[in-house]
């Protein structure tokens, strides 16, 4: 079979076009070097189908003559396994980061160790009783004690309301993220619409690399909020489940199913829920604080009520919300100092002063240690999760990220390829020139 005279021209043209496409891909990579979530793309060259020609003398053997090159694919270079690891770690980091921030606020409310904390107020309160025991008939000492008791009660109820505030704030954050204009529904809606676009492209045989990048980035963001599991559908769409929400999935192909009820979603939402839910972390802190307030009031009252006049309580509170309702129940003149009622008898005052360092102090100190310990744990876990997250991100970047040096060398390679193809085309041009313009002109 004869070969067309122009085969070489076509071959070099394919070379030129392919190198041009590869150059385009390289410049696309360079342009997106700083785009979040971008995966580098690679133009895959492959030789086009060869022509079979008869060669030699019959019985003929056949030979193949190459016809050049074509770009068969623009590969999106990405490791899906690393994506799974990244999302699992992003969830951890989201959970611990939020937990350490929110509990850190509760910790700030304590003001410990310092002169304004409840511990210092307790000390001053016991000092007040001791001072009164030294001078039971003094109106000034009585007034100082009652004032200090009120300060202590106020400090306890302030801490309680600060804890309540942290709880309300975290609940509000949860509501904002999961609400009708919240992050979850926005991300889900965008994923659903990308699903549509991706499915359509794939139907046409395209590879919508940049849409896939965008969808993966949205999944990364969603995984900070909660545990994400993804099921791939044949059409190229995905189903996305968030946390422990029951079916249907949050994103089912192009449908968004939200709001859903989450109980333990992990991630930022999980942390917010764990802190703010009924019986959650803040509630248990408040229960501990209530126990402290109750212990303080009960131990003081138990001694105070045995004096003369009998049955007088120093503190009053409402059962169930001891910390918030703790108040001094007596006036300065009504403070009971003794079992005899004599002006300088101080046995009751002495007994109460001996409560210093007792059950109430211990209970409060245990609460401080508990909050401190939990904040420290959250901080340490956050640091660990962040380190792991950046290690995985580095691996991911190592595969998918754009390296300028690499793109530069590719740029040079494809440019040289393009130049060489051009030179080849000139050669063919000269050859044709020889054939068309100079052949058959002997003697002219």
């Amino acid at each position: 079979m004869p070969i067309s005279t122009f085969l070489g021209l076509e071959t070099t043209l394919r070379g030129l076009l392919s190198e041009q496409q590869a150059l385009n891909t390289t410049s696309h990579n360079i342009a997106n070097a700083n785009t979040e979530g971008y995966s580098r793309q690679d133009a895959v060259f492959s030789a086009t189908d060869a022509y079979r020609i008869e060669a030699g003398v019959p019985p003929a053997s056949t030979a193949h003559i190459g016809t050049g090159v074509q770009i068969t694919d623009f590969r999106r270079i990405r490791d899906n396994f690393l994506d799974l690891q990244y999302r699992a770690q992003a969830m951890q980091s989201g959970y611990q980061g939020t937990r350490s921030t929110e509990l850190g606020q509760a910790e700030m409310g304590l003001g410990e160790p310092g002169p304004t904390g409840i511990s210092a107020q307790l000390s001053k309160f016991w000092n007040g009783w001791n001072d009164l025991s030294n001078d039971p008939s003094s109106g000034a000492a009585r007034q100082a004690l009652v004032d200090q008791g009120s300060n202590l009660a106020a400090a306890i109820s302030t801490l309680d309301s600060q804890l309540a505030l942290v709880k309300a704030q975290t609940a509000a954050q949860y509501a904002a993220i999961t609400g009708p204009q919240g992050d979850v529904v926005q991300i889900a809606t965008e994923i659903a619409s990308l699903n549509g676009a991706i499915a359509r492209s794939q139907q046409n045989g395209d590879k919508p690399n940049d849409l896939l990048d965008r969808r993966d980035l949205l999944l990364d963001r969603l995984s900070k909020l909660g545990q994400v599991s993804v099921t791939n559908l044949a059409s190229g769409s995905i189903q996305v489940t968030l946390g422990d929400a029951p079916p249907p999935p949050v994103v089912d192909d192009q449908t968004v199913n939200w709001p859903q009820t989450l109980t333990s979603p992990g991630g930022q939402l999980g942390a917010l829920l764990d802190i703010s839910k009924t019986g959650g972390t803040i509630d248990s802190y408040r229960a501990d604080l209530n126990a402290t307030a109750k212990t303080l009031a009960d131990t003081v009252n138990a001694i105070h009520a045995t004096g003369v006049p009998a049955g007088v309580n120093f503190f009053t509170y409402t059962a169930g919300s001891e910390a918030a309702t703790l108040k001094v129940a007596v006036s300065a003149a009504g403070v009971v100092t003794s079992t005899t009622g004599a002006p300088d008898a101080n046995d009751i005052a002495l007994q109460i002063a001996r409560l210093r360092g007792g059950a109430a102090d211990k209970s409060y100190s245990a609460l401080v240690t508990r909050i401190g310990g939990e904040v420290r744990n959250a901080k340490t876990s956050e640091t660990n999760a962040t380190v792991l997250l950046s290690a995985i991100e580095a691996h991911r970047q190592s595969a998918a990220g754009v390296s300028m040096d690499e793109e530069m060398s590719k740029l040079m390679r494809f440019q040289r390829g393009y130049q060489a193809s051009g030179r080849a085309m000139s050669t063919f041009d000269e050859m044709l020139d020889q054939l068309i313009n100079r052949t058959g002109k002997v003697g002219l």
């Binding site: 070097a33 700083n34 910790e107 700030m108 304590l110 410990e112 160790p113 511990s119 210092a120 307790l122 000390s123 016991w126 000092n127 001791n130 001072d131 025991s133 030294n134 001078d135 008939s137 003794s338 005899t340 004599a342 002006p343 300088d344 008898a345 101080n346 046995d347 002495l350 002063a353 001996r354 210093r356 360092g357 102090d361 100190s365 245990a366 401080v368 240690t369 508990r370 909050i371 401190g372 310990g373 904040v375 420290r376 901080k379 950046s390 991100e393 580095a394 691996h395 970047q397 190592s398 595969a399 990220g401 754009v402 390296s403 300028m404 040096d405 690499e406 530069m408 060398s409 040079m412």
Partner: protein, 304 residues
């Protein structure tokens, strides 16, 4: 497979390193500025609980010191009043001995009796000693004058003990009851100081043979018993004062050691923190320099 290193990776790792060092530097700076190792419970939860309990200890020691000071002042007032009463009673004893000798005439005895009456009032006045508006010999009824000068000899206070707490669970009685020394006068016939002095004055005034015998015999004997009691009470007061001053120096030692323990837990080691800080500063600077150099160079620099 060796890792591909991209520009973004390099930049991010430099950034996160710089961030890490700055975080540590700001923590060290906070320690330097506050002088505290622990500024929030999560810095060291166990250390915080120790610091809280040491604060409680320190506060209580300082309170005990105030209690001891208070008790000591109370003792000093008591002792000086007792010393005045003692002197007065010694004078009464001299008068009794002079009046009891047969050579003393009726007029001399009358004069001695009149002086003893005055001494009785002076004893009562001594027993009315007060500290900060409170009568120290009146038991716990400190708002009531225990003896009415120029009035009845009946003790008006009560028998309550006034105690000061000088240590955890340790309290010391600081008051002396007026009734235990002076009694309630002739009507009570309790053989205490006022009763005896009134008897002596009465015997001196009447001057009968029986009375003179009583003066020389039982009266003097009873007065000596009371003087002995007075001496014993003063010795007790002195012992209590000693005990308080020992407690004071012990409390000062405890305060010092607790303060040191607290400082060990709570305060930053300045030398170490300062060294840490300058080390972190130099690490930060070299990280900055390295980062600047690494980010700058690329293949681009070498291509035409």
């Amino acid at each position: 497979m060796s890792m591909r290193i991209t520009n973004l990776m390099r930049q991010e790792s430099i950034l996160s390193d710089l961030n890490d060092i700055s975080t540590r530097m700001s923590l060290t700076q906070e320690r330097l500025a506050s002088g505290k190792q622990i500024s929030r419970p999560s810095d060291d939860p166990y250390g915080t609980s120790r610091a809280l309990s040491l604060h409680i200890d320190l506060e209580s020691v300082q309170q005990y010191q105030r209690n001891v000071q208070q008790g000591t002042s109370w003792q000093e007032i008591t002792d000086s009043a007792l010393s005045k009463i003692s002197d007065t009673v010694q004078r009464a004893r001299e008068l009794t001995i002079q009046g009891a000798t047969d050579s003393a005439g009726p007029s001399a005895r009358q004069a001695a009796a009149a002086e003893i009456d005055q001494l009785i009032e002076s004893v009562k006045q001594g027993a009315d000693a007060s500290y900060g508006g409170r009568f120290v010999f009146a038991g716990t009824a400190t708002q009531t004058r225990p003896y009415a000068v120029g009035g009845s000899d009946v003790y008006a206070g009560d028998s309550g003990a006034v105690a000061r707490e000088i240590g955890p669970g340790v309290s010391v009685q600081v008051n002396v009851l007026g009734s235990a020394l002076l009694g309630s006068g002739q009507a009570a016939a309790d053989g205490k100081l006022l009763n005896v002095l009134r008897d002596i004055s009465q015997h001196l005034k009447s001057g009968t043979a029986v009375d003179m015998n009583a003066l020389r015999g039982t009266d003097l004997q009873r007065l000596d018993t009371n003087i002995a009691a007075l001496v014993q009470v003063r010795a007790t007061v002195g012992a209590t004062t000693n005990r308080l001053s020992t407690a004071m120096s012990r409390l000062a030692e405890v305060e010092q050691s607790t303060t040191k323990l607290l400082s060990d837990v709570e305060d930053a080691d300045m030398a170490k923190t300062m060294t840490d800080f300058s080390m972190q500063q130099s690490v930060y600077q070299s990280a900055l320099r390295a980062g600047a150099n690494i980010i700058q160079s690329s293949l681009l620099d070498f291509l035409r």
